[in-house]
Symmetry: C2
């Protein structure tokens, strides 16, 4: 952030009085522009014991398989956002959703909220952000071509729970893989 | 948002190609500035069957009683954020925290994540944003002087669960009170 979205003047990084960390502060109107984590909402869509995955058409991780997920929008509930993302990316509708996992990803300033739910039918098709959408048996999950650590963490917990005959609510912090650029990423973000 | 935080040029509201809703788009550099919900993290701090509440020193709802809560910061996990807010507002440390409630507040573009936990000791004191901090028995909760619907919804569920001898994970959507200005609030926000 270089210019004030309110008045267009230059922005500086400064610790405001009474605060304990640097913020983007306008040099003219003094407005403090806070930066906060974003919420990603997604689903684990199931049909006759198989899960619906999407192969990403866009970066990051283009060509890799993922669960339907995306940023929660203003004015939207988390469940509504998770349904919307599933419709947009996989052309699929879900029945009743239940919360399954709540993950912190502090290295990229995100929180993931994943819901589990059966598909309303076996109708689905790739949306604009997907190359391909397919149902997978557990044995066929493309583990070596999956996008994002949080997808692996979600799927592993899901199959463990399903084998045990009950779904728990999962919480935890996702750590970036060792070769990830996020390993040395600073806490501050800039836009 | 009136000026582009990247280049300082004028911002217009427009529906970008492939999108389905208006965004803030820079007239010069074409950057799309997305607006997304914020996460509020808070706690239900308990000491010998009593709950720790804070009387707010600042608007909104100055003078009213609330649970410690505030915006999640970049680079922070939800549990760490909830502990930080409890220290800042109530000068108190918590033992092990467990997730208790996950609320959507789409009318103000917020998600609340509330954790339950016993206090580490009976040491507490009002921080800068609190006029007063006090432990309350259930019978003494100042229901008529409490801030925010989400606090009432959290406390009611907490006492119900405690009486039943088990804590559930609660989810739901908070609706603004009938006399609230948010009743006619538009979906779009501006900064």
């Amino acid at each position: 952030m270089k210019f004030c979205p309110h008045c267009g003047a230059d922005i500086a990084q400064a610790i405001p009085e009474g605060d304990d960390r640097p913020r983007f502060v306008c040099n003219r109107c003094q407005t403090i522009h806070y930066q906060n984590p974003k919420i990603v909402v997604g689903t684990i869509p199931e049909w006759e014991n198989r899960l619906l995955l999407c192969r990403r058409a866009i970066e990051p991780q283009a060509g890799m398989w993922t669960l339907p997920a995306g940023y929660l929008e203003n004015g939207e509930t988390m469940i509504d956002g998770a349904r919307r993302e599933t419709r947009e990316e996989a052309g699929a509708d879900l029945k009743t959703l239940a919360p399954f996992a709540l993950f912190d990803l502090p290295f990229i300033n995100q929180v993931y909220v994943m819901f589990y739910g059966p598909l309303a039918s076996n109708l689905y098709r790739a949306g604009k952000e997907s190359l391909e959408v397919r149902l997978f048996d557990e044995a066929d999950i493309p583990w070596n071509e999956r996008a994002f650590t949080v997808v692996r963490e979600t799927l592993e917990r899901f199959f463990r729970d399903r084998a045990a005959g009950r779904f728990l609510l999962h919480t935890g912090t996702i750590v970036p893989p060792p070769n990830s650029p996020f390993h040395h990423r600073n806490r501050e973000t800039s836009t």
